[in-house]
Assembly symmetry: C2
Homo-oligomer: 399 residues x 2
């Protein structure tokens, strides 16, 4: 165990005592480096350098730097990812660009397992364009069969936020592209959780989240990837000054930057972005294949322990670990109450209506002892129906 590289990464996090944290798929735990970095940006950069810190503290370079660091985790070459805005905003940028490139096709294909904000954003783009674009939703299993030459863009989230079900990114990307569609992947639950090979599978666009498995802090900036040879063809819909070829020339007309930078819009939230930058330090030296192996082992261990003792809980995630992200979900009719009881006892997972108990396993800081304790606690709660006892009720409401 002493050679375990994940003992090293676990020690890089600030983990509160008495807590087993299985909700890193909603908000990653805090790396100590992120806390120290933000303190430094406050005390030394903003507080002492003031406006000069844009240069002296490197703030101006953060979106590109953080983009490249995330790119290294998702199979994206340097200069193809930029950190910016939220996932929703980045998806708007990607989809607006893709639909322009895909003309005259007008169908956006997605699935009912996608995270709702992606579908809302797609609705908004279609409506705004006012050219008859439509969002076609099918079941996740039906995406492949629904691909045809009418599809302009497929827009999918690789890992289902409720079940952890994994789309076959390579297969769907290749099939869509063979049919002439453009492909957008949302990597919200993928980046930092499993190996991704954007360039290798030929994806056109990708977006993702900084605050889940990348541990960038609450509402950390998101990211956007554009295939390198496509970048100069993208006419940014959100054409802000930070995406201009010469932001500080203050020209009256917009000229997009000759790179991924054109996907930037306004001034980035530096404190949040610096936290994300520092959080990525934890990934230095981490082999993503080893991380994936560990993630699978943690999830398998949890599934086996729960299934052995709690037949009431039905696995809602794919049984095949290769078809699953870094989370495990169980359906349980009394899941809401059981999850509140679990949280009250220090095991933090979350709940999605109507009956899904979700457990995220962030391999950088969750270990096998956590799995054992979480499983033991959940088993006790379910066996003894502890949620029926007022003293075990939740102290906190978790959304």
């Amino acid at each position: 165990m002493s050679a375990d590289p994940f003992q090293r990464t676990r020690a890089m996090f600030e983990l509160p005592g008495g807590v087993v944290y299985l909700d890193g798929n909603s908000l990653g735990a805090m790396p100590k480096s992120a806390r120290e970095r933000v303190r430094r940006e406050l005390n030394e950069s903003w507080g002492r350098e003031l406006i000069r810190a844009w240069n002296t503290a490197g703030w101006i370079d953060l979106p590109a730097k953080v983009g490249d660091r995330i790119g290294a985790l998702i199979g994206a070459p340097k200069g193809s990812v930029v950190a910016s805005d939220s996932t929703s905003i980045n998806l708007f940028k990607a989809l607006a660009a893709a639909l322009e490139l895909a003309a005259p096709r007008k169908v956006v294909l997605s699935d009912t397992g996608n995270f709702p904000t992606d579908l809302y954003v797609a609705e908004g783009v279609c409506r705004l364009l006012g050219q008859g674009h439509t969002l076609k939703l099918v079941d996740p299993e039906a995406v492949e069969g629904a691909l045809d030459e009418g599809v302009a863009v497929i827009m999918l989230t690789e890992v289902d936020y409720r079940s952890g079900r994994l789309h076959d990114m390579r297969l769907l990307t290749e099939k869509a592209k063979a049919l002439g569609a453009l492909v957008i992947w949302d990597l919200a639950h993928s980046a930092g959780a499993l190996p991704v090979d954007l360039a290798g599978c030929g994806a056109d666009f990708a977006v993702g989240c900084g605050y889940k498995y990348l541990n960038g802090g609450p509402g950390a900036p998101a990211f956007i990837y554009v295939r390198p040879d496509l970048q100069d063809c993208v006419a940014p819909a959100l054409s802000g000054w930070m995406g201009h070829a010469a932001p500080f020339a203050f020209e009256l007309g917009y000229r997009p930057a000759p790179s991924i930078d054109r996907l930037r819009a306004g001034t980035p939230p530096v404190l949040s972005l610096a936290a994300l930058d520092a959080a990525l330090d934890v990934f230095e030296g981490v082999n993503m294949l080893a991380l994936r192996d560990r993630s699978i082992a943690l999830c398998e261990d949890f599934i086996h322990r729960i299934e052995a003792e709690c037949p009431e809980l039905k696995l809602a995630s794919p049984r095949d670990p290769k078809a699953r992200g870094s989370q495990v979900s169980f359906r349980f009719a009394e899941g809401y109450a059981a999850m509140q009881a679990l949280i009250a006892r220090g095991v933090i997972g979350d709940f999605r209506a109507p009956d899904v108990m979700r457990f995220g396993f962030a391999p950088l800081y969750v270990g096998f002892a956590d799995v054992e304790l979480a499983a033991r606690t959940l088993i006790e709660i379910v066996r003894r129906r502890l949620w029926d006892r007022p003293e075990h009720h939740a102290r906190n409401k978790v959304t």
Copy 2:
């Protein structure tokens, strides 16, 4: 002087020794409350509460809370402002909404003194809509005369970022509305710098910046205002989950929230937003009319001192203080080098090409002794042409 309320506010900032900071119009100085708040969000909220902090630390309510606090400074009623995204993104939201409401009119009227990102965003909206919308740019002085019944939306920044020239918000708003146009104000250099009366003048939309006179920190979230009786008519173009009527119901279809909340999009950058929230503490108990009086007195004092001793510097700001924001600009052929020499001596202003030296006077923390020292230093530099001496050259490049 002991009764001076601005001695109290000045003491609430962390100001580095040996520096006179006259660039709060680019990045406000750091309130101590902001630093302490971010530390708390790191140590106590993210670090200890983890995902629970969305409820226990009130993160979920921050966009509305901060919006209301900013609203109180700009004449906006409760529930009409939300803190969110960047100024560029918020302007996109406002303009897309306004153009839909203003149909079939298709002209966006703005001026050449507007901050470029506003113009870039307007270009992008017009292009994206693909319905023949155009951006018409006139000189700032010609806006009133260019208003006619063909104008769909006027989109102006109240304070010119180079000269500090102030538009007559009430007059232009009333005239535009009488002609049936919608009105969007960018308050980037107004909010926190001078009294604004959005509701009183009948503005339809406004956006603004959190990191200038509101002192929210580098890249702090921006804000957007929508006239209360217009909110339910706005169909958000950037339809993200945080603007949904029930974000945590995870419905497949978008239903906008029944309030200003519909102008939100993705998950907000909490660390940056919390800094802005705490920064607004400084405004508690500050009378905006008294702040405006002080701002004018500071600017007048600086102008008189410089004009008395440096005839080479030509005032680029309006001479009438009522026509000026909280900044003073001078044109000077050697302004770039002179500004570098000034910064090297601890007086931080900034420079805008080709020859504008800008000085922002943030009344919350800039005092008359600062004005005297800044003027004396600048006068010495100009009289002795100190930028010709290498030892006085700038140590830092300031954008």
